[in-house]
């Protein structure tokens, strides 16, 4: 007997089909059975979804699940449950694990772990260079055959122009994304935060925006040269956006994302030396933040990506210069976007869902994710209350980690139901068992 759930009176926001209106949605086993008011539903469990929003499950281009190698920070099990709690149904797992995901065997291991314990789809990202050393290319074809869609040395930036050129060139036949964490290492050596008024005031070594922009400019030139497919992740500086915008207009194959924390915070928020706000790349100025918000609204930035970076408490509870960079993000991303962008009217709800689900799903070639929510489609879905307010505290995380930049912040919106391939991974706001 099929398991049937009817969401009645839900506001369906589905950028892939262009729908935005109140309707009923019936889920039957792993599929969407029907969409439309008064769908016949026989013996379905009925969820009164009045006032709630249904959207395609969120898709994250950039998360650190830490397994294998750093299971004291996060595991694929806890990381994907955190993802589900945040409304995600697919995440791209960064390769800076131990061992580094720089060959098909590690890709297979990550996939196996995800199949066993994953509460959402996990797409292992592959390293561009062996051991993230920036010197020799990994077996990109073999990993692409194993299903890798995105290659990055994230956490490190490919410094050599030649290596980056070859990566963009070599990867072309496999239709995969070459994703860069843009940061000139010599110009940002020893950095603790954005170089500017506040770094000078706080006595913290700075990384100037130019450290990012120089690499973005170089990589755009290389994408132009090679015709390769470049993705610039966690863009932080206004100047980088200007370059990306121009390149897009000129037809360069480039996409880009920004994080919820760069869209929310700025360097001025570091005055209390809160290590949860120490992130890589650093939070930049309020002007940069405003530019990121506009670029997300305009679509110059294609996606919001969390850069979920869990750390153990003892790693973050240190002197500022000794704490590792990173904030968690999977469980707060949707609320952060609702609070910083949708609530002030900078981005429509439909565009927010587009940047958090539909576009990243298309970038990764994930047909089952990102909508449309239509009969016969896989039920990868999030249902959230867009109106509820909550204050984030250390106790409200499913992730093993508590290093959230948003602790103490009032955020809008809460995920109540997440369905991954038709199975509830979140029920009534709680992780499903």
């Amino acid at each position: 007997m099929p398991r049937r759930t009817l969401f009645r009176g839900v506001r369906l926001v589905d950028p892939a089909s262009g729908q935005d209106g109140v309707t009923d949605v019936l889920i039957e086993d792993e599929l969407v059975a029907s969409v439309g008011p008064g769908s016949s539903h026989g013996k379905a469990e009925v969820i009164d979804a009045d006032g709630l929003v249904m959207a395609p499950g969120l898709v994250d281009l950039h998360a650190h699940l830490r397994e294998p190698g750093f299971e004291h920070k996060e595991t694929i099990g806890t990381g994907t449950r955190a993802a589900a709690a945040g409304g995600y149904t697919a995440v791209c797992a960064m390769p800076n694990t131990d061992p580094v995901t720089d060959n098909a065997a590690v890709v297979a291991e990550v996939r196996a772990l995800a199949d066993k314990s994953g509460a959402c789809e996990v797409l292992p990202a592959g390293a561009i260079t062996k051991g993230l050393e920036g010197e020799s290319l990994t077996d990109i074809a073999e990993m692409a055959e194993a299903g890798v869609k995105l290659f990055t040395d994230d956490g490190r930036c490919v410094q050599s122009s030649r290596v980056m050129r070859l990566a963009l060139e070599y990867a072309k036949p496999f239709d995969v994304i070459v994703c860069q964490h843009a940061q000139d290492e010599a110009l940002s050596e020893g950095w603790q935060m954005h170089e500017g008024y506040y770094s000078a005031l706080l006595g913290l070594a700075g990384a100037p925006s130019a450290a990012e922009t120089i690499v973005v400019a170089r990589d755009l030139a290389l994408a132009r040269l090679t015709g390769g497919r470049l993705h610039v992740t966690h863009v932080s500086a206004e100047d980088s956006i200007d370059l990306i915008d121009r390149a897009k207009r000129e037809g360069v194959r480039v996409t880009a994302d920004a994080t919820p924390h760069h869209l929310t915070f700025a360097d001025e928020d570091l005055v209390h030396y809160d290590t949860n706000l120490k992130v890589n790349p650093p939070l930049r100025t309020p002007e940069d933040r405003a530019a990121l918000r506009s670029a997300l609204a305009a679509g110059t930035l294609d996606a919001v990506a969390t850069d979920h970076a869990p750390h153990a408490p003892e790693e973050k509870e240190q002197e500022f210069d000794q704490a590792p960079p990173g904030t968690t993000g999977l469980e707060t991303a949707l609320s952060a976007v609702l609070t910083s962008l949708v609530e002030p009217g900078l981005v429509s709800l439909a565009d927010a869902i587009d940047r958090m689900s539909t576009r990243p799903a298309r970038l990764l070639g994930l047909d089952d994710h990102g909508g449309p929510i239509a009969p016969g489609r896989a039920a990868n879905i999030v249902v959230f209350d867009p109106a509820v307010d909550r204050v984030i505290d250390e106790t409200c995380f499913v992730s093993m980690a508590r290093n959230s930049a948003f602790i103490g912040r009032r955020l809008r919106g809460r995920v109540l139901w997440t369905l991954f391939q038709g199975a509830f991974t979140v029920m009534e706001g709680e992780p499903a068992r």
Partner: protein
Amino acid sequence: MIKHLLSIGDLSREDVERILDTAESFREVGTRVIKKVPALRGRTVVNLFYENSTRTRISFELAAKRLSADVINFSTSGSSVAKGESLKDTALTLQAMGADAIVIRHSSSGAPVTLTRWIKGSVINAGDGTHEHPTQALLDLFTIREHFPSFEGLRIAIIGDIRHSRVARSLTFAVSKMGGDVTLVGPPTLIPPEAPGWGAEVSHDVDAVLPKLDVCYMLRVQRERQRQQFFPSVREYSRLFGLSRARVDALPDHALIMHPGPMNRGVEIASDVADLPQSLISDQVANGIAVRMSLLYLMLGGSGPSEEGGLDA
């Protein structure tokens, strides 16, 4: 009075005046045969020094002892910290032992701010990384005040590695707060481009600045910065920014020469210049004790039920 002293920004102008005024009365204690008052009897002050600093630690230690406080020197070498104990656990330990004030010196900017999360008592920043060194600025103000009736319109140049200097930050903020005019002088690589936002002038030409000064404040230059290429050679640095005998002649007669120590004689300051009568380097050291007594007294003893022994007791 404030609970913690983490940066000069924590202090109002009135706070600064009160600290300096109180320091006047404590200076006399240092001239007595028995250099001790019972103001902080029964209080515990911990000197938590993660970085070697003989002069600052001794200055705080003497200040606390002259106020009759119990003083514990916790230096990190050979301690639990050397065994890998975190700042948090060290703080919780000191908290459990009932420390009333922790004086912290640390190589990480912001470490005193972080420490306040775990400490119920007062935290005093005795120099953190390249951030601030507020008690140095207070003792410098105290030293300057002995020679000038008011800080209003006082013209001071701070010369050297502004970028990496906690002394420069605190002194700039302190002098500006009190109404003086600060000019920061050094090579552009050693002055943050945002320094004008601190309310200071910036110059790269020592000789243009000297004739207008009331106070010429020299900073120690670390040879490490040359290895990092902030300037090409010590010789060139010294030629462009060192305080030579000839440059002293360009200063007005009334101008004072100051240096927070330790000095590199022959680099930022010529040896015979350091020994001139207008060089107040030894006064700065002596005044440090009185100013730190004042601060500890006001922060720990100025109020509360245990105030049994005041200044005159």
